[in-house]
Amino acid sequence: MTERTALELESVRRCFGSVVAVDDVSLSVAPGEFVTLLGPSGSGKTSTLRLIGGFEELDAGAIRIKGERIDHLPPYRRDTATIFQSGALFPHKTVAENVAYGLRMRKVERPERDERIRQALEIVRLQGYEDRYPSQLSGGQKQRVALARSLAVRPAILLFDEPLSALDLSLRLQLRGEIKRLHDELKFSAIYVTHDQGEAMAMSSRVAVMNKGRIEQIDRPEKIFHGPANEFVFTFIGESCCLPVRRGASEVTDRNGQAVALILQNSLPEGDSRLYIRPSRLKLAAEAQGLPNRLTATIHFIEFLGDMHRYHLKAGALEVFADHAGPIGHDVGALIDVGWRSEDMKVFR
């Protein structure tokens, strides 16, 4: 069984003083799998990565690489390679010397070493940059050198520590595509830490959504998006409208107790609950006719988002926003219907 995992975390735990940064995290990465740790800042994703790399010490649990325990080893004895957010290129070494570093440390001798440096730079499309210093490279090029440096040592697992978050948007999208392409080509095993769900969705074999040091859900990106396991995952992934409502003895009200014109196909449990719907799944005005769940609300304001118009609506204390391609022919202040299908709604208590 262990033969078939590149990396395995077993009930890993890490505390900083009284704060539990990583809490009972278990995870296994199959060879060639690209697993993303996704979560807000402070969710423990970077700490988890640093535990694997050996930059933090474990308080409990076990880490195995190819079935062997490594959590007692210092970083330089672990078969991992990290791509840091800053790139962390050695500024006093040229591109080629940077890529050579790990190979020299692993005692790879001359002809092979040169060949692997050449290959690594070719993979990241930086041939001809061998003799440049990091200060002579752009941000994107630096990250590509960092990637080449890590790829060259052919580690059991690559660790990405938010490598794109310091770059601007267009470069981020471009490099994201490039990392994806490299993974498809080379089939390396990787753990990728990010707070950007777009990156997570686009690149990963599986996504682990983390919150408060725990993994909330781990699954394929589509499963995470369409079948979120709990309220945190639902709200963290994609956009969503939240309707906090209260069901009394007979009618449904907002949290202030004011009655709202909300019709639901399935009746709610008594008490407080929160309904979530994706703004792209909400239908407006005439399109809402005949849908089983409807809310009558006033148009509060309208945002123009290019492809979409985003309608912000209010009904009592409830606020929703819905995206619609093109205007719907109603102006601010108009009372319209919003409708959705039951399968597009999630109810959490």
Binding site: Y76, H92, S135
Partner: protein, 287 residues
Amino acid sequence: MTAQRRKQRTALLLLLPALVIVLIFFGLPTIFMARMSFNLHPDQRLFVPGFTFEHYGALLSNPVFTGAIWTTVKLAVMASIATVVIGYAFALIVWLKPPRWRLLLIGVALCPLLISEIAIIFGWWMFFPKNGLLSYALLSLGLVNDKISLMYTEFAAFVGLIYVTLPYCFFILLSIFDGIDRRLIEASGDLGAPPLTTFREVLLPLTWTGLLVAFSQSFIWTMGTYATPSALGPDTLWTVGYLIQEQMLGKHNWPLAAALSMVLVLGVAAVMVLTRSLMPKRASYHV
């Protein structure tokens, strides 16, 4: 092109006030002193304008003077090496420690700068003698059998010099360390380098310039300083600084004192040239 030139001119203008001050208060006196070193010194007068190489001749031939120059250089080199080693280790620790330690350690490093050199010397007088702190500490730790005095030894002068220059050396090195991305250390380990290799391959090359600057700084300081070695060292510890004082105030031989001072100036210049030549061509690495 023109933008480049304008930039250069702005830089020059910004430099100008400092440059003027340095020239007036440092350049001119040095020139006067150089001129003084060639003046005549007949009988008991302070000096008589003239031109002679007599004083430089005396410096080279009189064993008292050559001995003093040798002692000064030796003491300065030893103290500077020790200072740089200690300062480097201390700066490295401060750099690696989490921020909450930083302020405390920097405060400790600042302490010697808050006290005058004379007060520090009085402190050493409490520390080194037979009934001093050091003697008691060693005795109660059982490291020595009888009370010992290290007062008025070359060792005391050596320690005193280190103490005076250490803060400067430390702050120079800390500023260099602060310019280094700490992730580089992790990256090096991550790629398979054990700590010592990381030190040799990454940390040392990146701090080399700072090391040289810190060394020349403490060399200049220890070579010129006068009070600490003469107050803590033995009566026979004749440094150039001590001799200048003696020639100037005791023997009233200003030209000879000026010639000795020129030796210090030349020594410092030589060290500056030497350290400059040891610096890498690419003096700074902007990440």
